[in-house]
């Protein structure tokens, strides 16, 4: 088991942040599994700091208009639309 055991409230908190509802049975199962997995991740603590030069370059392009999806195509998979818009639940 981990030095910092995971409790069911931790799992519920993270699930809230991630916007995933969980059944009570899932919370219990994940609590046990996360303790094992996070305990295994603890070994990352032994990794030395590494000086590395990231191989990154800027990729620039001209800002040109291209053909894109039509409004109809963009909406074709939405469960609900109205007047050419996606329709979602209220925000607050």
């Amino acid at each position: 088991m981990s030095d910092s055991p995971v409790d069911p409230e931790d799992v519920r908190h993270v699930a809230g942040l991630a916007r995933v509802d969980l059944a009570d049975t899932e919370v219990d199962e994940f609590t046990e599994q996360f303790a094992d997995i996070l305990d295994y991740f603890e070994a990352l603590d032994e990794v030395p700091e590494v000086d590395s030069e990231p191989e990154l370059v800027n990729v620039m392009r001209d800002d040109e208009v291209h053909e894109g999806l039509s409004q109809e195509e963009a909406l074709q998979n939405a469960p609900e639309t109205e007047d050419g818009y996606f329709k979602g639940p209220s925000v607050s």
Binding site: L17, R19, L22, L44
Partner: protein, 424 residues
């Protein structure tokens, strides 16, 4: 079609009349967008999703003359190594009935192994092309990061994943790589290096004078009979003129940890888009946004996907970012350095592709951590952005074993040449 549950959707899409893949059939992993043909990603969340456009790799295989025969089954959102987390049921290994085909591109490898398609496309984030290639006894290539466009692929962990070919021979896999490789305006991470590649021509079986370093760290955790089969294939290469040496890479001890922290973190962000508004199951519109969002995601995602989203969210959350994510990035840089140093000494590196033979169907999913550890030999390659190939090395009591050959960045020709010698 065979009865191994290879395809989520069987659908025929004819390509151009002429081209390097004319008269060839191909299976496409179901995380690659196909215009007008549903693309589920193995998830209930996308069970009815029909893309309005093709992924770049899909356009390229059609332009090259291939005929698509179906969308291949896969672990849900490519999260798994057995193709058992698919919402559409597990795929059976045609080369080892009763066993898993590996994953996450298990349907793609099984399609080729069963003869349901001549060729297949898979995607490899931590081994998802090489693992099923090894378990199904076929060839699979994970290209250098940036060689192949990811445009139109449902994202899991962008910094790690590449689309790769599967086929029954090294030459056919290389030919398919020639077709899909090269720059794409729609993916700014693609490189112009492979614009005029001739990978298929490299499959000439000439390993005379080639130096191959065996990664001892990846032998230690492998089953004895897998190691014996692996060593027999190296002996064969040595008899053809290759020089075999041993190398050790200390950083690899932390590769699985680093891979899962990075992949889960990226997944937790990428999968935020599945909110039931633009696609996915219809949520309860009566509640507020957050309630509706959380209910849709409870319904649409399976257990492994939830597990990775939650652990990724945890690793990026306040107070834990430096402990997990930053350390994982350090480990990734260390793995890259270790590989760079090794390639100053040898031309290619070798290991068994998988440390085990394919597990029996239904035997692995209870213990997620054990399943993650099965990826020990494949994930270092993704962390270091390198190319690697899995080629059949033989079998243990009828269960296929793969040989993994790893090359330096953009060293696809070298690993293709070496792998073709294994087939001799």
């Amino acid at each position: 079609m065979s009865d191994h549950n290879v395809f989520v959707t069987e659908s025929t899409v004819a390509g151009d009349d002429a081209g390097p893949l004319a008269d060839r059939t191909i299976a496409i992993k179901d995380n690659m967008s196909t215009e007008g043909v549903r693309t589920t990603c193995g998830s209930a969340m996308l069970a009815d999703y029909v893309p309005p456009y093709n992924a770049t790799v899909v356009d390229r295989v059609l332009d090259a003359g291939a005929t698509i025969v179906g969308k291949a089954n896969m672990d849900e959102f490519a999260m798994g190594g057995t193709t058992e987390t698919s919402a559409f049921g597990p795929t059976e290994n045609p080369a080892a009935p009763g066993h898993v085909p590996g994953g996450s591109s298990g349907g793609s490898a099984a399609a080729v192994a069963a003869g349901d398609a001549d060729l297949a496309l898979g995607s490899d984030t931590g081994g998802s092309v090489r693992n099923p290639a090894a378990f199904c006894g076929v060839v699979g290539i994970k290209p250098t990061y940036g060689l192949v466009s990811r445009y139109g692929i449902v994202a899991y962990a962008n910094s790690l994943e590449q689309v790769g070919p599967l086929a029954t021979t090294v030459e056919d896999a290389a030919l398919l790589l020639d077709v899909i490789a090269g720059p794409d305006d729609h993916d700014a991470t693609t490189h112009d290096r492979a614009a005029d590649s001739e990978y298929a021509a490299a499959a000439d079986g000439d390993v005379d004078g080639l130096s191959i370093g065996v990664i001892t760290d990846l032998i230690e955790g492998a089953d004895d009979d897998v190691v014996e089969t692996f060593e027999a294939s190296l002996d064969e290469l040595e008899s053809q003129g290759a020089e075999i040496t041993e190398v050790s890479l200390d950083s690899l001890e932390h590769a699985v940890q680093a891979y899962y922290v990075i992949a889960m973190s990226e997944a937790s962000s990428n999968l935020a888009r599945f909110d039931g508004v633009r696609y996915g199951p219809e949520g309860d519109r009566e509640g507020n946004w957050n309630d509706s969002f959380a209910a849709v995601r409870e319904e649409g995602f399976g257990p492994e996907v939830k597990r990775r989203i939650l652990l990724g969210t945890y690793a990026l959350s306040a107070g834990y970012h430096d402990k997990y994510y930053k350390k994982a990035q350090d480990a990734r840089a260390w793995v890259k350095q270790d590989f760079d140093e090794a390639f100053e000494e040898v031309d290619v590196l070798a290991s068994p592709t998988m440390p085990v033979t394919p597990p029996a169907l239904g035997e692995s999913l209870d213990d997620p951590l054990q399943l993650y550890l099965m990826d020990a030999n494949t994930v270092p390659v993704n962390l270091a952005n390198l190319p690697a190939i899995s080629v059949p090395a033989g079998d243990v009591d009828g269960l296929p074993v793969g040989l993994q050959l790893i090359g330096p960045k953009f060293g696809e020709e070298t690993i293709i040449r070496a792998a073709s010698a294994v087939e001799e």
